[in-house]
């Protein structure tokens, strides 16, 4: 298998954006190509979760490639719900690793803020099992069901979960591209409006627009793709025995670490899919970055803050950087790359050599773990 390197990374400011999605994706893609000093990639992978319903546009790979000025470059679109960005990175990686292409542009984006919140919630909810959806299950509802179990297990869980949001807002405040750049207090989180009991508004990521892109090559750069893994699970949450651990994350982590040849103890920092604050705690334990039952305490103790021993979500995470669906998996990787090459202005970690990005698709039906290392 050919070694694969990240040659360039770029992303837009995340938030409420007035530009069309194609322009946002072009902004990210051109920045990544400029960074890589590659004018024309051999192949393009486009990630969008649902442009058909958000925008009314189909055939989106060709749509984006043509808009970028690459009408003649082979292109595909990849979709695994909210983890589409991470999935597109995997497809780009496999093209280079297999020796089929020398350079691949991977670009993901989503535009949703022009629609009402109930409509956005409904469109994202299409990724939920139809029977559960027929009972009104939305992503926040399913996350609420999971959080309820978590709270029943420990008396301190409510504070631990709230602290995830406090920490990630503090990180986002240092990231000029983040959707939210203001801090929140523990009290503000714990007293925010109830969304899906016991899940509150400030436990949830925002609805965001944005795009992110990376260029992968077979030529050596300063960042190597060390390992990737995918894990899947039942579409229906009710078909699972366990609610407060995601089998799809555990499987993805196993596969990624096996490919990389190192274990979670060697990871210096991570970008974790905190679409809902409790998911960060669940995922840290599923990946093996923290022992079972210890992630909440570690968060309260500041271990996962920027200056902690295992910084988690230096970008602000989905919570504060924002969650433009198919852009997110790539935005996580862009943050990892910038940290690894010392370009994370205002939030640069001192000793960052090995990075992990973790992305959840749907309600943990299609999850990804990506490992990068500086070389």
């Amino acid at each position: 298998m050919q070694e694969v390197y990240v040659a360039g990374a770029g992303m837009t400011r995340i938030g409420k954006r007035s530009e069309p999605l194609q322009d946002l994706m072009a902004e990210a893609a051109h920045a990544a190509l400029l960074d890589a000093q590659i004018e024309r990639p051999d192949f393009i992978v486009v990630a969008t979760m649902n442009p058909e319903e958000f925008l009314g546009d189909g055939n989106f790979a060709s749509n984006v490639a043509t808009h970028l000025g690459f009408a003649e470059i082979p292109t595909v679109r990849v979709e695994t719900a909210t983890s589409s960005g991470a999935a597109s990175f995997y497809i780009g990686f496999s093209q280079v690793a297999a020796g089929l292409r020398r350079s691949v542009l991977v670009v993901g984006g989503e535009k949703m803020t022009h629609l009402s919140t109930p409509r956005v919630s409904e469109i994202i909810g299409r990724s939920i099992d139809p029977y559960e959806r027929s009972y009104g299950a939305t992503m926040p509802a399913l996350a609420g069901l999971i959080t309820q179990v978590l709270l029943g297990r420990s008396g301190s869980a409510a504070r631990e979960i709230a602290q995830v949001a406090v920490k990630n807002h503090a990180h986002g405040a240092k990231n000029p591209l983040a959707h939210f750049q203001q801090i929140v207090t523990l009290e503000e989180v714990m007293e925010s409006r109830m969304v899906a009991d016991p899940l509150r508004l400030l436990h949830c990521c925002p609805i965001s627009d944005g795009a992110a892109a990376v260029v992968l090559t077979s030529e050596r750069t300063h960042v190597r793709v060390a390992g990737l893994g995918q894990g899947t699970d039942t579409l229906a949450v009710r078909h699972r025995r366990e609610l407060v651990t995601f089998g799809a994350t555990r499987a993805a982590a196993r596969e990624a670490f096996a490919m990389a040849g190192f274990d979670p103890a060697h990871v210096d920092f991570a970008e974790i899919h905190d679409a809902f604050a409790p998911f960060e705690l669940i995922s840290l334990e599923d990946i093996g970055l923290l022992p079972p039952g210890k992630s909440g305490r570690a968060t309260l103790d500041g271990d996962t803050a920027l200056d902690g021993r295992l910084p988690i979500n230096p970008s602000g995470g989905l919570k504060a950087r924002g969650h433009p669906l198919a852009a997110t998996g790539l935005a996580q990787i862009v943050e990892c790359v910038w940290q690894l090459i010392g370009r994370a202005e205002g939030r640069q970690l001192p000793a960052a050599h090995r990075a992990l990005a973790h992305s959840i698709g749907g309600l943990a039906t299609n999850n990804w773990v990506t490992l990068l290392e500086s070389v």
Binding site: T117, P118, S121, E122, G125, Y131, E132, Y135, G136, A137, T138, P140, A141, G144, L145, I146, T147, Q148, V149, G152, G155, R193, M194, V195, A196, D197, P198, L199, T234, L235, A236, V237, R238, H239, R241, L243
Partner: protein, 143 residues
């Protein structure tokens, strides 16, 4: 009256799912249709304050584990006072399933119905009482 809920079982791994599915989620095997009685334990629940279109706020949703381990998603009139592990009955109104809390008399009737011989019934009730006492004890020691 206790509701009957349509379900299906995988002939290979014996997993039970409700409502019935054509194929097992874990094996490419046709499932065998069957029915389960509408009594179960609350696995988890939530109250949704911003439900999707077509639903009224607040919307109560629970996952209930039926006999044999099939987990079922249903609505309820309220989640106030509801606890994880509580026994609830499931009823269908206009083909929509709802959970409802069970009172002491309902519980007694359930045990009566579920167990066969008189001795078994007494044992079952005693076991249930012992379990409840033990549960409340262990909760106290944790706190």
């Amino acid at each position: 009256m206790i509701e009957t809920i349509a379900a299906s079982r995988c002939p290979r791994c014996a997993i039970l799912v409700a409502p019935p599915a054509t194929y097992c989620p874990h094996h490419p095997v046709a499932m065998t249709p069957m029915t389960l009685s509408g009594i179960g334990e609350v696995v988890t629940y939530t109250t949704l304050h911003t439900p999707p279109q077509g639903f009224r706020s607040p919307l109560h949703i629970a996952i209930v584990e039926l006999e044999g381990g099939a987990r079922f998603v249903c609505h309820g009139a309220d989640t106030k006072g509801l606890k994880i592990g509580a026994t609830v009955a499931i009823e269908a109104i206009d083909d929509i399933y709802y959970f409802s809390h069970l009172g002491a008399m309902d519980r007694a009737r359930l045990f009566w119905r579920r167990t066969g011989r008189a001795g078994d019934r007494v044992n079952a009730i005693a076991r249930s009482l012992a379990k409840r006492v033990w549960k409340s004890r262990s909760v106290n020691t944790v706190e």
